[in-house]
Symmetry: C2
Subunit: 154 residues, 2 copies
DNA sequence: CCGTAAGTTCAGAAATTTCTGAAGACAGTG
DNA sequence: CACTGTCTTCAGAAATTTCTGAACTTACGG
């Protein structure tokens, strides 16, 4: 099996993992193309060719990836095609996005705690849940800061 | 609006957040029932009543939650109905499960790195990705350990 | 200014996920 | 040991997500 095939398989697995992590299918596959392409930048046509999907699908996927800050449009110097590439801070960004899920969970727990009496089993149960997510949400920003310090932009 | 209504809304939001985080719909809704119920334990019938869904759906959801270690079956002392409850370590468990997604992403990046030459844009790009996930996966276990130390089982 | 390539949008087709309902298995109970 | 309530399983219905294709918009290039 050629390196090309192995790469493509890895890209597929990556897209699948992103999907399991909550990303929609087409944005995930598109991001995989961005990561594994040989070129510095990519056009929508490139993506459509690579994935064998319609231009419409690519347009939607690129829009999504732009909106969450994972890719950026390059200042295209008088070309007819728009060029895009993965942003340098894509991974910390993605990680942070996922933390908004944690925040919703925390808020749901807090609401439940506020509307139950101490001693109610739900009160205690949700208290444990809140403690955990409060801990996480307090620690994760420090983790990211540590990452950025240890890896000052090249 | 009654506290009951507010609680139920919170439970629904919780289920929705879990779904966005990758959990399937029925397991997520079922877990929400486990968390917000007044009782210490819950039977399948309780869940079906609460959610207004079929016994078949509940059976599948409970099976899923058991398999990932979020709930446990109680040693039922000669009863016809099985009783279940949320496990104490459900949240750390859930968090750890999600890390397996990170691990797949890391492996995909490593595969891509191994099959490209240094200097190839994909090589560099995937290198940055690998560094980030390697960092995360090395730090998160310590984070969980810290949690368990700071909160010794009550 | 046209002509044309590139990108956008969206209605509906296609695929997938999700849920139900009914049949069957199992275990407690009389 | 038969009866009954509980749980499991799974084929197919229902709902939702996902993708396409065609019409439309935009802007470069001649």
């Amino acid at each position: 099996m050629s390196d090309q095939d192995v790469q493509w398989q890895a890209a597929e697995r990556l897209a699948l993992a992103l999907t399991e992590g909550g990303m929609q299918r087409m944005p995930a596959r598109t991001l995989a193309v961005f990561l594994f392409t040989d070129a510095e930048t990519v056009t929508m046509g490139d993506i459509a060719d690579r994935l064998g999907v319609s231009a419409g699908s690519v347009s939607g996927a690129v829009k999504t990836l732009l909106s969450v800050g994972l890719i950026e449009r390059l200042p295209a110097p008088g070309s007819r095609r728009e060029h895009y590439r993965v942003r340098d801070d894509a991974w910390p960004t993605l990680f942070t996005k996922q933390n908004t899920v944690l925040r919703v969970l925390l808020e749901a727990a807090e609401t439940g705690i506020a509307t139950t009496a101490p001693g109610d089993p739900a009160h205690e149960r949700l208290g444990r849940m809140r403690d955990f997510y409060q801990f996480l949400l307090s620690e994760l920003p420090a983790l990211l800061r540590r990452w950025q310090q240890e890896r000052p932009r090249p």
